[in-house]
Amino acid sequence: MSSGLQTYNTTTTLQPVAQVPRWQQAIRKNLPGYLFAAPWLIGFFVFTLGPFIASLFLSLQQWDMLTPMKYVGLRNFERMLQDNLFWHSLRVTLLYTVFAVPLQLAMALLLAVLVNGQGAVKLFFRAVFFLPSVTAGVAVAVLWRWLFNPEFGLINFLLDQINITGPPWLSSPYWALPAVIVMSLWGVGSTMLIYLASLQAIPDYLYEAAEIDGANVLDKFRFVTLPMMSSTIFFTLVIGIIGSFQIFTQIYILTNGGPENATLFYVLYLYQKAFRGFEMGLASAMAWVLFLIVLALTMIQLKLAGRWVYYEAEEA
């Protein structure tokens, strides 16, 4: 926009200064930032947002990946709701979430409290507890396959030492899911680390004040540690639930949904529908239902968070 307006400097010479539009100024100012962020942005648009939108489109199509798509409206959703295995896989996943996530959080918290503080032994165990969480999922699954071995496995060997006959774990439809839940505790190291950082951020004066008020160890944990860590626990709870709904790799390797569909998790069933059943439209519909379930659960948690999560900044 060149409106003829002129600005004047304090000297006697009059010099017209071109007015640069605000949007151009913004681009000039922010361009380097966008360029630096471009690799991530491109990756996000191409590999996340693009497939996300495409899957919504696909959920309304009948598509086997090899022949042209056919628009079927909400038929995929209808079929999904009539499919017993869909409900079964959802139930298996929910059961896993209900048991695995609280166990993971409790175990991570316990370990964080145990290794909190200084000293070589604590530092050593921090590393020991964290290491498993950086192990590849496939390797973990293979390892646990051996641990659960009813004949030679370490778990049944230990049970045998206290005169308990261990179950056949992964080959039993009753024990396979509990076995997977136990296995999920393997990766609590990263959550432990987050808790550890949160623990160390709690100021000592709060504990001192509690001591003056006569608090014992348990009281301090309940009335100081837990409230001060509640925002961290809330974060790990949300992330934990999202992750539990997405469990796939370990199950694919360990049981592939068996025995007798006892570990047919939602995402595994989705994968089977897509790549073994050639029903990409139905699988996309399942993906969207999963997204909505996770979104709803997260919203509920956010709603309930106000009742138990304490944010120091808000208080201030």
Binding site: P32, L35, D64, M65, L66, T67, L85, R145, F148, N149, P150, E151, F152, G153, P168, W169, L170, S171, S172, P173, G257, G258, P259, E260, N261, Y269, Q272, F275, R276, G277, F278
Partner: protein, 445 residues
Amino acid sequence: MGNKSLSRREFLRRSAVAGAGVAAGLHGLTFETVRVLAAPGQQTTTLRVVSGQDITEIEVREAIAKMYQEVNPNVEIEIMLITGSRDESQTVMLAGGNPPDVLYLNPWFQYIFAQKGVLLPLDAYIEADNYTFDGISPVAVEACRYNEQMLSMPFEVSPAGFVFNKNLFDAAGVPYPPTDWESEDWTWDNLIETATKLTNEEERQFGVHFENWMYPTLLYQHGAQVYSNIKKITADTRCVIDSPEAAQAFQLLRDLRETYKVAPSSSAVQELGGFDRFMSGKVAMFSYGRWLNTFRTITDFEWDVVPFPHVKDRDPACTLYMLNYSIYSGSQNADVAWDFLKFLLTQSPQEANVATGMAVAALESVNASPAFLDSMPPEHNIVYSDALQWAHPEPILDGNFDSVLNPHLDAIFNNTTDDIPGTLAQAAADVNAALDQWRADNGVT
């Protein structure tokens, strides 16, 4: 470090150059996964052929491609290496608009791809060339036919048998089983008797391990079927696994484990596979095919192969596992691809392939050659080639009903049901309901 500052423009320029370099490097990496064999011809046709990523497989595919190029110097063969699941990788290749000219498929995906119209029918070429399948395993040729059309060419066929640990037999003073599929001395009763002598509970050593997934062999041996027909789902296709003969077949497997206790218990089967047990010398006989090259790394004991026993008063039977070559229906090089497929069924490529020890040749004369009989252990490779006359195609349809059927079979394999006929009846009912749904969804009446 000097104090010369880098202008923003210069920094971005250098970053772009560095980024381009990295991208070029990555591009080079992607080419490492695809072997392009250059041919000296002036005007070349590039044929894109799929191969797995096993190093032995790559080497033999390259060798065969070079053989072909010697007589067809104007054809360049690009070997497309696939990772992970062979079938799913090829599905994604097609879906992603990166189709090969020549696909390498097992019968299940072959039938599914055929049903979707992705495979080029070969009948016109066969007729034009007066091509005959003389000398090629008839059961293999039949497995390549779908809906009255020839949609694949057989390449390698793999029936199975029992590999056995000779040292365990020697230590127990048990004679080796016969190598003749028709031997009257090799029935399941004989096997149980033999396996009993080879089982040592204290040592956790078992006489036999029969893989669950090979159950169709037991069905065929008892005169049972999974489906009323295989390949194309028709209005009449039914799951018939609820027959009394099928129940007998599964009962035999149950008896080996739970009654005679000559096979690892049901609870242990999934935990420690037969392969590991056999490799560690803890099972005397293990059901497997020639394709498992790992057996050839065994140094702790001697091993060989014998046929599966047969059911008394019934013919021997086993299941034929295959990998076939097909031409993509949209290929621009279909003529060359057909020529290549014909070439693959000639003596030299077939010999080269069986010499890797991974398969049995579809061209039966090769199975009588030293390339097959003498190139690799086991000593009695002939057991695998003789199996072809007793081989049945896999019980496969052009849809996927495993997720419905397998949980029921799991209950039988895992001994969580005592009622085998009842479980099979429920399995058949559920699969038939799924078949009805499939027909409704796909307009099959």
